[in-house]
Symmetry: C2
Subunit: 316 residues, 2 copies
DNA sequence: GAGATTATATACCTTCGAGTTATGAAGATA
DNA sequence: TATCTTCATAACTCGAAGGTATATAATCTC
């Protein structure tokens, strides 16, 4: 004797609200509808659910027992509705975000921390990759958002890109480095120092090559490679090595006094740091919320950078 | 965002059975039906429940969470189905049984005990009344079964009656009574003794009147009245009082050596002990089972009485 | 106890979801 | 790449649940 769960809900509603009319109202249905459903159910199971000819409808023992189960169904249903509501409101779910390592570690991870403070039920699945890989992953739906530097001209046509920051890189070193703090610098002055090499797929690596090509160095001394931002910071602060990092990373670390940027302009192709996504695949509410959040955070960051640079100029 | 409980069940079934096809089978539905329901649900809530283009269907996080609720719904449903099944099988429910006091106490209560050993989930609501009242209660659906003496000619036409035992009453006394054990007795010999009077509505009372009228006694000494069987037994065994009781009650108490029946035939109208019920109101499975049980018990009792009487005759 | 009031049941119709079979499409597997 | 499995779609039927309007029956009230 299979019972329809909705019937259990109806029974519970009637019993708990003290009458057919009230039960119907609680369920958002009309009284006749509920009445007929009950009648049908009684006919099917061949048993009364409510005492005959009693005006404040009086549940039978069987009905009471079924109402207990009905309450469980109603409760589960409410929980499920809440789950779905949170999901469609973008307050729960998963966001798969990938990006270039140093930028993720130096800038985005802090923002993710803020995001998760606001939306603790959204899980972030972070991964590292460079632009080409990220594009592939977006296209194959292995990723929801990519955050990386991108030449707008080189954007794959299936993807969309929204710029967040200027994508320029700088030469970074320890604040205690002999070159640090100099108001101006000639390129040739950097020649003696060893380098921490970014990964070869990284735009940072390309920028490093172009810098060194600019001063005629085809060969350069690599003292360290393969590390993530945390390793590089440790090594930079304890050595005279130089490296190339996104300006925003250096900026974010300004409070820790861990890095300095050398006043040398690096020429590189037009390039923005931004988020990239696949417009074809209808993104989840959580993803939409994440993207909006990142936009807002970078909006703040841009004004902070602007103010900071104005102050710096002023003081000079 | 209201969710249909059946959808939760479907989700749970798919997740727990590792696939849409298996889930459909577990639910006893066709695969396309389940597939379409899932598609419809996904469209309604605007979220994927299963990863796109994955062949062993892979539930999303939201889906997993909903499956948890779905399992609760399924469990409640199973419980409810079992409840209903037990009910329609007549293994749970209520039986409202009424009857004449001495017969209920002396005979039926023992059978009810047996019945409840076999069907512990059936609740018995017992009450006491006499034939006229019992008929009324049956007609007004305040009672499921009445067990009482009845002249088949006097049966209300709306009710049905099934005879269980000969309804004769006997004069009962203590086994230590001066008259007990005498092989034969003249009516006049009982004149000196006091009487325990049954309730005036009782057929027992009528029989008592007719006995005394037969020996010309219009006045008789009532030493006790108003008690139930238990009181009467206590008083009988400690006095020389006489009373009128159904033969079956005396028979059932034979083992306790608490009663003796005097060998005096009481004339009374044709009358059977039996059960009475209202055929118009479709009785519950539990009631049907109870009636059948009582029938069977009395069938046994009749043969026991018959054997006992043959033995008694033999021994004389 | 008659009428008023309220609650439940019925009638009648509409609509929508869920069921079916048959078939197509797309991963997974070898 | 061919084949197998699994899921999705198509096209249709059917029944249950929805609604409004209204009848009927219990209970309340005086």
């Amino acid at each position: 004797m299979k019972i329809d769960s909705r019937h259990l809900e109806i029974i519970a509603a009637i019993v708990d609200n003290g009458g057919l009319t009230e039960g119907a109202e609680a369920l958002g249905k009309s009284q006749p509808s509920v009445s007929r459903t009950v009648a049908m159910l009684e006919a099917r199971i061949g048993a009364r659910l409510f005492e005959k000819n009693r005006r404040p409808l009086q549940p039978t023992d069987l009905c009471q027992a079924l109402a207990v189960e009905g309450r469980k169904v109603l409760a589960a249903n409410q929980t499920a509705s809440a789950l779905v509501k949170r999901y469609v409101d973008g307050k729960s779910g998963v966001v798969r975000v990938g990006g270039t390592p140093f930028f993720m570690d130096g800038v985005i991870s802090g923002m993710i921390a803020e995001f998760q403070r606001a939306y603790p039920e959204i899980r972030i699945e972070q991964s590292y990759a460079y632009a080409a890989d990220l594009s592939r992953q977006l296209n194959s739906n292995a990723l929801d958002v990519a955050i990386c530097p991108m030449d707008p001209g080189a954007l794959p046509e299936t993807l969309e890109f929204s710029a967040l920051l200027d994508g320029r890189n700088v030469i970074a070193c320890s604040p205690t480095h002999p070159l640090a703090g100099k108001p101006s610098l000639r390129l040739s002055e950097i020649a003696p120092y060893p380098w921490i090499a970014p990964p070869v797929e990284s735009p940072l690596y390309q920028d490093l090559r172009s810098i060194l090509a600019g001063i005629g160095m085809t060969d350069f001394k690599v003292s360290f490679s393969g590390g993530t931002l945390a390793s590089i910071l440790n090594i930079l602060t304890r050595s005279d090595a130089l490296t190339v990092l996104p300006y925003s990373v250096v900026f974010m670390l300004r409070r820790q006094q861990a890095l300095a940027a050398l006043p040398i302009r690096i020429n590189h192709p037009e390039r923005s740091l931004g988020q990239m996504w696949n417009p074809l695949q209808n993104d989840r509410p959580s993803v939409r919320r994440f993207r909006r959040f990142i936009d807002a955070e970078f909006s703040n960051l841009r004004t902070t950078i602007m103010k900071h640079e104005q102050n710096t100029l002023w003081r000079r």
